[in-house]
């Protein structure tokens, strides 16, 4: 059942990226180009997504546990550390260079643009590399347990 829910939610997420235009790197780069060919569309993507998620999460959390059991696994860390900042900064530079963040890149794989087929393996390598570093590298302290 978890796999069915995983597939359906992934499909809906991917459709959202396609319908919104966020799966198109040109549109993302134009959103980021405030001083050039600015296309504000992606602010509407974020707005629509946060609106639904904000309300939906609060309705969901009136339950004690998820429908398929287990617990609501929410990040519990509150500290702002150098790890968060440097990671986000590096991610933003890459996002600004290619116009892809992980969701749109994954969604675009089977469309098989040559640039996508270079980007995705490099992204996986970068992810793998980050996982090889100690969990507390540049962190303010030992990470707190993630389970809520």
């Amino acid at each position: 059942m978890g796999k069915v829910i995983g597939f359906v939610t992934g499909l809906v997420f991917g459709l959202g990226l396609v319908v919104s235009g966020m799966a198109n790197p040109a549109k993302v780069l134009n959103f980021l180009d405030l001083f050039g060919t600015w296309d504000p569309s992606l602010a509407f993507v974020m707005g629509g997504a946060v609106l639904v998620t904000f309300v939906g999460y609060r309705l969901t959390w009136t339950r004690k546990i998820p429908l398929l059991g287990g617990v609501f696994e929410l990040p519990r860390r509150r500290d702002l550390d150098l790890r968060l900042i440097t990671g986000a900064a590096a991610f933003g530079i890459g996002w600004g260079l290619g116009g892809f963040c992980p969701g749109p890149a994954v969604t675009s794989v089977l469309l098989a643009a040559p640039g996508t087929l270079v980007f995705v393996p490099a992204m996986l390598l970068g992810m793998w590399g980050a996982r090889q570093l100690p969990a507390n590298a540049l962190a303010a302290r030992e990470p707190a347990p993630e389970r809520a």
Partner: protein
């Protein structure tokens, strides 16, 4: 230039939100793509099944859209392989090192009113805007 699409973009954003809510409702999980994907890499997380299914669903989405509309989704991806390789490395490394990307921090984190997510979102928006400015108006200008 790309066309300003407030209605389609809002509708697409709401689908993304719906996906995030359903994943929380059924599985109790944050819809953070960098986390879902990176924990499939070896050593894979024990709960890799739903993660792999989620990624498969994402990859299937443009094909479904193609089948329904009769046209492939519009996409313009840079063909500069060096640029895309560097971009991919930075996106992959940065999103895992910083514990999230546009979805985990930007959508789910902001919806939880998390200060960490807000900070990360402001930082990656800022470095992305500066990167595009330098690439298009300083180097490319």
């Amino acid at each position: 230039m790309t066309e300003f699409t407030p209605i389609g973009s809002t509708a697409g954003g709401m689908l993304i939100g719906l996906s995030a809510v359903l994943l929380m409702l059924f599985m109790g999980r944050i819809a953070g793509i960098s986390g879902i994907l990176s924990r499939l890499l070896p050593p894979a997380a024990p709960d890799w099944g739903w993660r792999a299914a989620f990624i498969a669903g994402m990859a299937a989405a443009p094909l479904l859209a193609w089948a329904v509309t009769g046209a492939p989704p519009v996409q313009a991806v840079s063909g500069d392989f060096v640029l895309m390789a560097v971009a991919g490395l930075l996106v992959g490394f940065g999103s895992v090192f910083g514990n999230g990307c546009t979805s985990g921090h930007g959508v789910c984190g902001l919806s939880r009113l998390s200060a960490r997510a807000l900070t990360a979102t402001l930082v990656f928006m800022a470095t992305a805007i500066v990167t595009v400015f330098v690439a298009r108006h300083v180097i490319g200008g």
